[in-house]
Symmetry: D3
Subunit: 147 residues, 6 copies
């Protein structure tokens, strides 16, 4: 674990995105609120936010960090669901892994909700897209997924 | 949550895979055991096994299930790391989500270990590849990732 | 902790209910989907199901138990929200505490969502209402809350 | 989740109370230290303190917060047990939910300890009674439960 | 993780013990119920039982297992506290690590309670003392600690 | 729980050590990387770091604290393994229990890995060896274990 005792608490932010590729029957069920297990998008969103808070439990060398803001959004696309997160902290170290964990756990929860409709669903991409704050400053991924 | 009280405990198995796409500097660091944060592959493997056991905490509607076997393997490829899991249970319901959670959490832990080398690392694919046991029997994904 | 090794796994069920007493402004916000923090009922429902699975972590002497079914429902009443749970297991011991924990944690989550509207919100009642299965058989509370 | 990155860490305090309504046989067992499962009051007190620390795990949209002080007290009354909590933090946001979670989880643990004596035990009230610190300043519930 | 899907659920039992070596001032405080932080023995006992249930979270390759009985006892000796556990399961694999985790976590909690009196306190021994059930049958440590 | 709201966040450090006494067959397996369950030293090291972060969950009256640095090392000796930890925080209270929990959980994980080789393995000593920072300043145990 990196020693962050000497780092200054400052406001830091990170964004991430994930894509869950879904078949037509799953997309139809999501659009019609017809997933047998219940409200799949709400479950995924809440699981993602809770997942962000669990990051230091999931990642052995991650620091515990104050998640001072977290939003997870899900957007229905033609052949899948795009999940995005925005996470902020006023703590000593970056919050990129919390942003990535949020979209990834939301994606897992979405898969869990819809895999009864079609087992072929997959998490096709998950990545950090933006960070700001801290010593290394601002960074933005050049090729955003749905550009 | 689906009612599984009437299902019979039987031996069930699931496999999953995930790909972490890595740049050349990350692949070099992994090959030379030169990741500054430490033994990235061991950390990822252990995080994946621990992650499989946390599935019902991460996924709101997932049943608690006895993880009676779990193996996570990491294989260095040309431009990334392929993570595979094999999970078994003798419990009342399928263990696909545990297999998928194992590879996904292993992938997150790997990203956490190497993102200091190159922030552009991403989880490029994660999916169930095989299941056996239970009422729906055996299933195998037709197009395996590295076929 | 009571020794349950000699008990037979059988199907057991328990129900519980809780009432969150809310002021008129909170009820109006819940009816109009106008809670500033978001979809309060969905958050409470999911927190309740997740809470049922956490019962042995919260209650020091509770046995780990397979939660094989859990449903949490929320119903808007005149001056509050009635939360009910139905929980089932095919395990060695009763599941009443899981049912009670589900409604109680759902109630806490609901309070968390709406306390910004009115801090006076309270959890006015929480209790087991029904159980079946196991050695002591069926039991039903005589005076149900909304009788 | 509300963004609290811009809030100043200050000392904040909250109190809560809960009442567990108990039948005469339960009150007698509690008075005579005769609960078959063991020291019910000590178990409830410790579960309540541990519960306060778990608040952000139980409530999906609650911020992780440093619980810098927590006390839980249990008082035997004529027909029940009154549980009170006092919780303090020097963090960025209020600690009311931690106070309410402390008394509620203590109440659940108490029910778990005594329900073998009488299943009719119930959590008859749980609410925040006091808060201080933060932008909204001091607040005190007008009608305390045992006034 | 070892594959235990083919193992038969049978009743298994394990015992463990740990010694916390304490200075005379700590022993005096424990005897007079004069530990400033509160009832140290009750806290340690409850932490030990809760710790047993957390074994698969703490030990990466340990199987989740149904803790169907757990007792933790603390005995004041001349220059320390002897902690013993008895744990049982009707599950697929041995419960020795749960017994050892119970006494070890109880010892940690005891140290936490008394270290304000004297920081020199130490956990001087922790070990499995007995097991029964399963394929390898009964085993008893030859030289018990307080023989 | 002690009230630490008025304490100043400063850099604090603590070290601890534990000894796992092992038989000759276990030492041989560890030296030859021949433990059947896998890489025992890596598993123990990672479990120890993760364990440090879990301290406030394991110890009922411990404060949540920011673990801002943690290192766990394992050293093969003649008849056992010496585990040491160094932990740092920039938080409001001491981090001694996190250091002690790190070595203890690492020791438990090591026992879990090797107990299949020889069940007689034991945790023969675990203690805080050093602390610095905070009001009471620097402290060092006089008789280090391997002096």
């Amino acid at each position: 674990m990196v020693d962050v005792t000497a780092k200054t608490p400052t406001i830091r932010e990170a964004h991430a995105e994930a894509i869950v590729a879904c078949s037509a029957p799953i997309m139809a069920a999501l659009r019609d609120d017809g997933v047998p297990k219940g409200d799949a998008l709400a479950v995924a969103r809440i699981a993602g936010i809770a997942g962000a808070k669990r990051t230091p439990e999931l990642l052995p060398l991650a620091h515990p960090i104050g998640v001072h803001f977290c939003a997870v959004d899900l957007e229905l696309m033609d052949a899948g669901v795009r999940i995005t997160s925005r996470v902020k902290t006023a703590d000593r170290t970056g919050i990129e892994m919390e942003a990535l964990t949020a979209v990834t756990v939301a994606a897992l929860a979405l898969v869990d909700m819809v895999k009864g409709v079609d087992r072929g669903v997959s998490l096709s991409d998950a990545r950090i897209t933006y960070k700001a704050g801290g010593r290394s400053g601002e960074w933005r991924r050049e090729t955003a997924h749905n550009a």
